[in-house]
Structure formats: structure tokens, C-alpha cells
Symmetry: C2
Subunit: 144 residues, 2 copies
């Protein structure tokens, strides 16, 4: 039996072109496949991966998520949620909220760090020798 679908010609691309279309590296794509974020539609006779345009979109979605620093595990969750259109999307909101919180925490940490580094930097007046360097002296003092 030949289905209608099987007779429609679909443009399939190899991994290199998928990479160009999305701006991902070839290795990343293979990595996403291994991590089950992206499926390979099928293979050529010579075992090359072949992708359709839906996969291009899927990969763009992944790339967008990565640009927001979502982990592959989080993206996997989002993809799974996306496949349950009828469910409530509280889980999606929760994930984004917690991600925002983590980023905020990290920013605060780095801001503290920045303050400490500036103070450290101010403890040395550049034209000094290693022996008298305020930075090294400060680093040698046990902190609170």
C-alpha cells in the first residue's frame, strides 16, 4: 500500500545544511540527538542523517532556549510539555520563574564578587614590588 504521504516529495537536508540553517554546530546537533532532544527523521542509504523542515523548527526552538541558558534537561521537559497541548502550563511558568530566580542569585553573587575584587585592586598602588604588593598581602590574610 502506497500512502499519499509517501508520494509527496519533501525536501530533506543533511546535517551540514541543518547546521547552516540554524546556526548550530554539527556536533551540537549530534549531541542533541544523543540527549534525545532531536530525532533524526531518517537516514540515507549511506547512513547520513536526513532532516525535514519540522526538525529545522525544532532545532531553532532548542537554540532559542539555549540562548536563554536553559539546560538540556529543562529543554527536554519543555518539549515533553509541548506535546501535551491540553494540560495546564503551570509547569512551564514554574520552570521559567525558577530560572529567573537562579539568574538573579548568580547576578547578586557576581556583584558581591565584583565589590571584593575592586577592594582588592585598590589595595595595591601599581608601582609597587611583589614584596609590598597590597593585593598579595590582602590575599594572605585570613578572611572572616
Amino acid at each position: 500500500m502506497v500512502t499519499i504521504e509517501s508520494s509527496i516529495k519533501v525536501r530533506l537536508v543533511k546535517i551540514g545544511e541543518l547546521a547552516k540553517l540554524t546556526g548550530c554546530s554539527v556536533q551540537s546537533i549530534r549531541h542533541y540527538e544523543k540527549e534525545k532532544l532531536l530525532a533524526t527523521l531518517r537516514r540515507s542509504d549511506g547512513n547520513f542523517r536526513l532532516y525535514d523542515s519540522a526538525t529545522v523548527d525544532q532545532l531553532k526552538f532548542i537554540k532559542h532556549c539555549r540562548s536563554l541558558d536553559l539546560s538540556l534537561a529543562e529543554i527536554r521537559q519543555l518539549i515533553a510539555l509541548n506535546q501535551q497541548p491540553g494540560m495546564g502550563c503551570e509547569d512551564v511558568n514554574r520552570m521559567v520563574d525558577s530560572h529567573i530566580e537562579q539568574v538573579a542569585l548568580r547576578i547578586n553573587e557576581l556583584q558581591d564578587l565584583q565589590d571584593k575584587l575592586m577592594a582588592l585592586r585598590n589595595s595595591c598602588a601599581s608601582q609597587s614590588t611583589v614584596k609590598e604588593c597590597g593585593i598579595l598581602q590582602t590575599l594572605s590574610v585570613t578572611q572572616k
Copy 2:
């Protein structure tokens, strides 16, 4: 020949006590040794690492540097510089300056990310279904 030093009794501690004294984990200490940041003064007959109080200070120095997020490679440099008391300390200043710059960059990146995440979060009004979730829709749209 017996030197004066060899007859002075020095209190030596094993790795577990060094860990307690400094707040580092035992594994970290062994890791720092492997990375040549910390030398083991000597070993007991049973091959246990033994440390003196100078090593305690050295490790505190390392810990202080790590709390400022300096890499082990940077710390290794600082230690080397510290052993050349007569030299100018411009290199120390340069390292701290560049570190400050890197942290500033990272803060800016995270701030951008935070803005994007907030915008994303605002695209969904919580009580929605996955199908209508503004977050998932936004993530599916190709960005600039």
C-alpha cells in the same frame, strides 16, 4: 650531620585535620596537590600526607583566591609571583584587572538574559493551557 631544624619538633597534621582547619574538602586538597598548588611536606610511614602550619596558611590563601573565583591557573601564577619578592607587581594588578573585567562582562550578559526571561515570563498568564501558553509560543518563534 644533624641540623638544628631537624631536631626541632613541629606539629604536623594529617589531611583530615588540614581540611577542618581551612574549611576545604579532603578531595580539594588532594586535587590542589595534583595541580601543583600545594606541596605535601612529607609522608608518614604508612604513606599518609603530613602538613605543617605554613601549608595551612598556603591553603587559606588558595581558598581566599577561590572565593574570588580566580582559576587554579591564576592562583598558580600568583603563587609563583609571590616567590619573586623583588619584582614589580604589575602582573598581579593586570590579573586582577582582567578578572574584574570578565566578571563585569558576565554580569552584563546575565542582566540581558534576565530581561529576556522576564519578557518571556510575561508572555504567559499562568492560568493557560500548554496549547495557548505564550511562553512556548514565544520560544517557537525564530528570533532575530
